[in-house]
């Protein structure tokens, strides 16, 4: 017969007032298998815990039930007390007779009866508890950072500075991300590149950072402390080990008319190119779709149509035959910092939920551009050298209309959320514009101004009050080309008047969306994401940089629209989490994970289908002679988080969640 000890807590008056604790102890004491039952004023106090310890020692208890407050409050306390007296902590559980009983009932008789029931159910459960040992997992002290924008750069540097090794994966040819495209940054108007490029170089030179640019994550296996990541290194057609970034190849490339992605297609580049002069790594990429040689090969030409770059390269770094290659990296933690893209307002949208704007003529009227394009126009390193010229004819625009909330906060367009950064950058744009075109008129159509942040409200007020931007509260219904100008039909909802402005250029503050492909990356990582594709944090308040998968963290605008300081703060926070994880030799995990009874497993793999973590593996079972007997499920203890969905799904109940086994729950129900 089991020897369970039952300890009923009065919690001062908290329980004792409505529950007859002495009676609970007395009745539980009558149960077969209960070797000891007492009540006490404060079980969690030192003397209370001593009662538990003494009883374990003196009565030889093999299970402890503390009927007191919520297990969320003191389960650890009592488990530790049990552990200290040599009883496996998992043989101790709590019955919640405070939050679930004494505090919510007044009828003493009913509350006492309920307390007895609740405690009895836990006693019956504990009779079937098994001693469990924490799971220990070794930790690979190396992190993968996905995305080389400001968030990824910051996370990589912080982790590396903290002593960890980092593999930084960037899908573009250079790190730097959107920040490298910006002209100046709000609210200080300091030069974006000036503050960013040194960080980029630091990354490149850091002995503990391995930079894999022009690469993408192909597959992720393993679990916290022990991920195995397969990375696709896309073919640059340039041997990175040979190239010294001299730029000869670019200067000889005959195709100089390729729209530059970095300049948001406002500028041009060559077919073999470095996206921008400060690129890190400073190694060109050959854009095969624009290259005459590859275009010729695609058409089946016998001889290569070009090859100038190869001839020009003194280091024989050009390799037209280069193929994508794969590397596998073992890492202990992953930081996702894939950043954002701008909502494209055209009619064609990637998902049916998103709707475009036909009425703004984006893509049709060349002088209707988006915010990022304006950044390039305003940038000293941009296609116009920082002179504001409109794309259609290069004329200096005298009137620019800025439209806020394009897509954002518009459920009809499929984006209910606020993109957070637009109010600020539009204010910045008006200032940049007015600094460059002193007589220019900057109109802003806005819905509200959201400028919460240090120095933010001051900044927008400065744009309006000191820098002469004209803010009109209202929506624009239509943009129409009329000769040299763009007719902006809007409404000023404050005055109630319709407004029509003849603009030379219109800048749309389009919504911030997560990067394309984020869903498939999230699926590879088994992390969850919201309806828009933004990565879900583990808890919106308390675990803002963790994800649903242990060991995978999130930073920057891939989690939600973020400005630079937010992104950097998140990145540092994620880095701290990573370093915290790395500070352990081994991880200790709760042993409440699922285990499969392989002899009963039928191998239908319903469990595999429902496991949110991909913790179920297929294991071949062989007989003595090595013949395959069957394929059974096996749960990877490092990956399993203990939700138990597998067990409820398993038709034959051949998988058991430790701590919540069928026997335990059956016993609890049986006792109610």
């Amino acid at each position: 017969m089991p020897r369970i000890g039952v300890f009923v807590c009065h919690c001062g008056e908290n329980i004792g007032r409505t529950v007859d604790c002495a009676r609970v102890a007395r009745e539980l004491g009558e149960l077969p298998g209960v070797a000891h039952a007492v009540d006490y004023k404060y079980m969690c106090s030192d003397p209370g815990q001593r009662l538990v310890k003494q009883a374990i020692a003196e009565k030889g208890l093999d299970g402890v039930v503390v009927a007191a407050c919520s297990p969320r409050m003191h389960e650890r306390t009592f488990r530790r007390a049990c552990s200290a007296s040599g009883l496996n902590p998992y043989l101790c559980e709590m019955a919640n007779i405070r939050e679930h009983c004494s505090w919510i009932h007044e009828d003493r008789q009913a509350a006492t009866a309920k307390a007895i029931d609740l405690t009895r159910a836990i006693v019956e459960k504990v009779k079937r508890n098994r001693p469990l040992e924490p799971i220990r997992i070794p930790v690979e002290k190396r992190a993968l950072v996905i995305g080389g924008g400001i968030a990824g750069i910051q996370a990589a540097l912080d982790i590396a500075e903290g002593g960890g090794e980092v593999v930084l994966v960037e899908k573009e040819p250079s790190i730097g991300g959107h920040m490298s495209q910006l002209s100046e940054t709000f609210p200080t108007l300091d030069c974006s590149q000036c503050i960013l490029t040194p960080r980029m170089v630091e990354v490149y030179q850091h002995p503990r950072i391995k930079l894999l640019a022009f690469s993408e994550v192909e597959a992720v296996g393993g679990y916290i402390g022990n991920f195995e990541v397969k990375i696709r290194r896309k073919a640059r057609c340039v041997d990175e080990t040979k190239c010294n970034g001299c730029g000869e190849c670019q200067s000889v490339c005959p195709n100089k008319k390729v729209p530059s992605e970095f300049d948001q297609e406002l500028g041009r580049r060559t077919a073999i190119y470095v996206p921008f002069p400060q690129a890190v790594p400073n190694i060109p990429v050959l854009d095969r779709e624009s290259c005459a040689l590859f275009k010729g090969r695609a058409k089946g030409f016998k001889e290569d149509a070009c090859g100038k770059c190869k001839q020009a390269c003194g280091r024989e770094a050009i390799d037209f035959e280069q193929q994508d290659s794969f590397v596998t990296e073992k890492v202990g933690a992953i930081v996702v910092a894939t950043g954002f893209q701008l909502y494209s307002i055209g009619k064609d949208q990637p998902t049916p939920q998103l709707k475009g704007y036909g009425e703004y003529g984006y893509g049709e009227i060349p002088d209707v551009i988006d915010g990022l394009q304006f950044e390039r126009l305003a940038s000293a390193s941009g296609p116009t050298g920082g002179v504001i010229k409109r794309p259609s004819d290069g004329k200096e625009p005298k009137t620019i209309v800025f439209l806020q909330c394009i897509g954002s906060r518009d459920a009809a367009k499929g984006i209910e959320y606020c993109s957070k950064i637009c109010c600020m950058y539009v204010a910045k744009h008006t200032m940049l514009y007015r600094h460059k075109v002193h007589d220019g008129r900057a109109y802003v159509f806005y819905m509200d101004i959201r400028a919460a942040g240090k120095g933010y409200d001051e900044f927008t007020r400065r744009a309006i009050e000191k820098e002469g931007a004209i803010y009109l509260r209202g929506r624009v219904s239509k943009l129409e080309r009329a000769g040299d100008v763009i007719k902006v039909y809007g409404a000023d909802t404050l005055s109630g008047e319709p407004v029509t402005i003849d603009a030379d250029m219109v800048v749309l503050a389009t919504a911030v969306r997560p990067q394309p492909g984020i869903e498939s990356l999230a699926q590879k990582l088994s992390i969850s994401y919201d309806a828009h594709g933004f990565i879900n944090e583990a808890h919106p308040k308390l675990r803002p940089v963790e994800t649903s998968t242990a060991g995978v963290f999130v930073a920057g605008a891939c989690q939600a629209p973020r400005d630079i300081p937010d992104s950097v703060a998140m990145a540092s926070a994620a880095a701290t989490k990573v370093l915290g994880l790395f500070s352990n030799k081994e991880l200790e995990r709760e042993p409440t994970v699922a285990t499969v009874n392989e002899s009963l497993c039928t191998g239908c793999f319903h469990c595999e289908r429902v496991c949110p973590y991909g913790a179920v593996e297929r294991r071949e079972l062989k007989d003595g002679e090595g013949n395959l007997n069957k394929v059974a499920a096996h749960v990877n203890k490092g990956v399993c988080q203990g939700c138990g969905t597998c067990q409820a799904t398993c038709p034959s109940k051949s998988v058991e969640l430790q701590g919540f086994t069928d026997e335990q729950i059956w016993a609890a129900i049986n006792a109610l």
Binding site: T602, C604, H606, R609, T649, E663
Partner: protein, 290 residues
């Protein structure tokens, strides 16, 4: 029939398979045949009396059948759905079975009946079945078949039952399950019941008691049908096997109706289409959840 026998004989002669599982003439009508020699392929028949679902014999738990070696199996559309189920749930590898699909115009209720289909004789499930030929097969055999006589007896019975109060339904099933002797024939014949050990045989803990009192019988049938939700191929074998005549297909069919209504899922013979339980959509209806 000739085509079937020829293909079966050829498969055996070529050594492509070791056994052809089909139907033969037995003392009480058509029944399963296990043909291992080409010359015995002549025993094979196919007509409207071939009621039994032969997919059941492909379960890896049928060690004596597995021991015969690679099998070809004759499959009506509903049998093919069961084979797809076995493939879907990793019990059978597609390449390990040769499927001799047969076009089917419905079967009679009992293999002892004459092969002619009338509204009276046609099996309830065939009365509403819309699949005349399987899509999962290696060979497709037979002429295109006419529609079976359309009957909706069972659907009407279900509708009538659902018109009643829960208490009346409880009384109905109590009376039916009073007869249950927990022989588990419904399970053993079911092509989709292939567990190494059934939850009803689990002893630690005993969720479903093995005694045939109504309490355990309720638990058993609710659980069995729950496990069949979205997986049942409506072959009707459970009800046909029940030695005490419990109308089990009312349960399985009602569940299938619910699953179809809720999740738009119908059992198919495409192994790549997952069963609805074990998957989800974030916007699944939840009108019943407060």
């Amino acid at each position: 029939m000739k085509e079937l026998r020829q293909i079966a004989a050829k498969l055996l002669t070529d050594g492509a398979v070791k056994v052809v599982i089909g139907w033969e003439e037995g003392p009480r009508g058509a029944r399963a045949a296990f043909v291992t020699r080409p010359e015995d392929a002549e025993r094979l028949i196919f007509d409207a009396r071939c009621v039994q679902n032969l997919a059941t014999y492909l379960s890896p738990r049928r060690r004596h059948v597995v021991g015969l070696g690679k099998a070809a199996v004759v499959a009506k559309p509903c049998d093919a759905k069961a084979i797809a189920g076995l493939i879907r749930e990793s019990q059978v590898k597609r390449e390990d079975v040769v499927i001799l699909g047969v076009r089917c115009g419905g079967v009679v209720r009992e293999p002892t009946m004459p092969a002619s289909l009338t509204a009276e004789t046609v099996a309830d499930r065939c009365g509403i079945c819309e699949t005349r030929e399987p899509t999962l097969y290696d060979h497709l055999i037979g002429e295109p078949q006419p529609e079976p006589p359309r009957v909706t007896r069972r659907e009407e019975q279900i509708a009538a039952l659902m018109q009643k109060t829960p208490q009346e339904r409880f009384a109905f099933w109590s009376q039916q399950l009073e007869r249950c002797i927990r022989c588990h024939a419904c399970r053993e014949v079911c092509p989709m019941c292939f567990c190494e050990q059934c939850v009803a045989d689990k002893t630690r803990p005993v969720w479903i008691e093995s005694s045939s009192h109504p309490r355990a019988n309720f638990a058993w049938q609710m659980t069995r049908v729950m496990h069949q939700a979205g997986r049942c191929v409506d072959c009707g074998e459970c009800e046909r096997a029940c030695p005490v005549g419990i109308p089990l297909n009312l349960l399985t069919r009602y569940t299938a109706q619910s699953v179809e209504k809720r999740f738009g899922h119908k059992p198919s013979d495409d192994p790549s289409i997952a069963a609805p339980i074990g998957t989800f959509r974030s916007d699944d209806s939840q009108e019943f959840i407060r």
